[in-house]
Symmetry: C2
Subunit: 378 residues, 2 copies
């Protein structure tokens, strides 16, 4: 087992009272696992939209300024006044960043669950994976199969369990098909592979023709491009073809949720059905699990009264999931780590490189097809 240094480097994000974002690498004490935790030497961590939300605090990165030195780079960027209200609770607190990663379990608490992971390479979810070491709960660790690298397992927790969680939620709530927005994302491609394997009809909503082409190449049967003039009609046709009455929406702003609900209702109510001003009695649901669009959600109700829109997050979903179901889902991720659940990275960067303004501006774009892997040990 490699020796554990007393201190380590960690990326931290601070919003000041004057409306400035400060990113820096700090030297902090390497944490010690409590009885039930493990300590992971983080070898790989993906840069996901959910990480950037906390790290960049909606700052204007086009105006980011490099500071510090080559050894100790820092970045500052202005936070728009309009979003400062939403950040009130974090102002003045330097926060670690990074929701998941993979690496070697180098220390473990006394509990059997923790001890069982010692010496294993795990994928895991934590709150501070953008650092050399990170604590994790065994419940949030997935031991990687033999031969899998930390890079293979870096995204083995959040996206795989989120995608499987969507299909589980569909079954639990009595739906038989799914709609997914921002469907060309890594998560979206994963969900498409799961649905193709499992025979779950999936309506993929994307924002550009090239994203539609990408998903079709990967076997997607129903792809609707919201930039197409025929989008609403395309969506109704796809919903009629699949019977989907449940959508997972990463966008979460503007009218997309409303368009989906209205299209679902239009697909359900045939033109010759008797008029009811209360709409159909088929429940239509949109779960919002992201916030790619910061505008308000605008619901234009032409979809009757049998509808719901709500938030969805992985952690509370896992808390509601029984141990058998959870074990089944984790086993599947492990078995299909380099196929169904493979993530592809276009760039690998060190912690220092993550704080180079030019690099930061690239990964902050969250462009489809580009995905960065952080290598905290390099």
């Amino acid at each position: 087992m490699p020796e554990i240094p007393a201190t380590m480097r960690q990326l931290q994000s601070l919003v000041t009272t004057t409306g400035e974002l400060h990113l820096s690498l700090e030297t902090v004490d390497t944490p010690q696992p409590s009885e039930r935790d493990v300590l992971v030497r983080v070898e790989a961590a993906p840069v996901n939209p959910s990480d950037l939300g906390l790290m960049l605090a909606m700052a204007d990165v086009s105006r980011a300024v490099q500071g510090g030195s080559a050894e100790e780079p820092t970045v500052t960027a202005p936070v728009p006044a309009a979003v400062m209200g939403a950040l009130k609770a974090r102002v003045g607190q330097a926060m670690p960043v990074g929701n998941e990663g993979a690496g070697l379990v180098v220390a473990a608490g006394a509990s059997p669950e923790a001890q069982a992971l010692l010496g294993r390479t795990v994928g895991f979810a934590g709150g501070a994976t953008y650092g050399e070491y990170c604590l994790a709960s065994p419940r949030m660790c997935l031991p990687l199969p033999d031969g899998a690298t930390a890079a293979d397992g870096a995204s083995s927790f959040v996206n795989p369990l989120t995608a499987l969680g969507m299909v589980e939620t569909m079954r639990r709530e009595g739906h038989t098909a799914l709609v997914h927005t921002a469907a060309a994302s890594n998560l979206g491609q994963m969900l498409n592979r799961i649905c193709l394997t499992d025979g779950v009809p999936l309506v993929n909503i994307v924002r550009r023709p090239e994203q539609a082409a990408l998903l079709r190449e990967q076997g997607a049967l129903h792809v609707c491009d919201s930039s197409a003039p025929t989008f609403d009609a395309d969506l109704v046709a796809a919903l009629r073809g699949t019977g989907a009455t449940l959508a997972f929406d990463a966008v979460g702003g503007g009218q997309l949720a409303s368009q989906i609900l209205n299209a679902m209702e239009a697909a359900i109510v045939t033109p010759d059905a008797p008029y009811s001003r209360y709409g159909s009695d088929v429940h239509k649901q949109v779960y919002v699990y992201g916030a790619l669009d910061p505008r308000p959600i605008e619901l234009r109700r032409r979809f009757g009264f049998a509808w719901g829109v709500g938030g969805w997050l992985l952690t509370p979903f896992l808390a509601r999931t029984g141990p058998d179901d959870l074990a089944r889902m984790r086993r599947r991720v492990s078995d299909e780590l380099t196929t169904t659940f493979a993530s592809h990275y276009t760039d690998e960067i060190s912690l220092r490189e993550a704080l180079h303004v030019g690099t930061l501006q690239r990964y902050a774009r969250q462009a489809t097809g580009e995905k960065f892997l952080l290598r905290p040990q390099s």
Copy 2:
């Protein structure tokens, strides 16, 4: 048992392809009950917002024009082009109106449930109570207690079971207190009486100071006036005081649902709580059961990911309710018909008077404190 005429008068509402609302009294065959139905001679029917939605089809009643004769009055009014899309499914169909009423069961099908009601005065829900006779399902009838008049029972179904349904929903979904909007309505006053009796903390949201005064006179402990400059802070304080995480909203347009969710989150998250960009893990729910405001619902998300907004209607709620719970609720309405569940009417009108433009413009205003009772037999 009084003789049943072969034909009867019925109020009908028609939207034409040219965007005009036509209201008229039509002579139609008196319907015959099937095996499981009863025929009610309608003696009283309330004019509720939900009735006016179908009857007036969002037409501009300030421009209503009287037609027909004193015996056979008709009303026409223009329907704004903007709402014609939403009415597509009803264009060209003359529709009966009226969601509930009370009267004598004058004929019954062969089923025991139907026969048990013959000769009883019942409050009931139907779809055509603005006529001299109306069919009803025994499941949707409430036999009135001895001594109760049809006027006492005219509003004994929709509002009482809706108000009880809100409290039932609160308990089923694990909440312990309620928020209600448009709280000075007849329904709102009823809910306030139920909550005071049952010890359920209730936050009443109203739109004007005089409505707040009315509810306070009736013992309401938490009243927030959305026209007050201190509304947001008042609401947070009331939510903190009651712990309410469930709201029933009759307004359903604009930012009110969003304000409620944000105030709930602000009441839950104390200023010294550690920052989480996913918000609290306490589920906050708004059920929209009306559409007093026709604008889109605008959700400004400062309330994390543990939230839901959805439609709520009485009929599907009753369909999800077991027979024992339903019997308990109905017994309570019967026992407390002239106290908790009393409705007060300021005006009584005949079917003909309902089609006098001046009268129609009065009840179409849906002013708080004014409530009309239709008397189809007079």
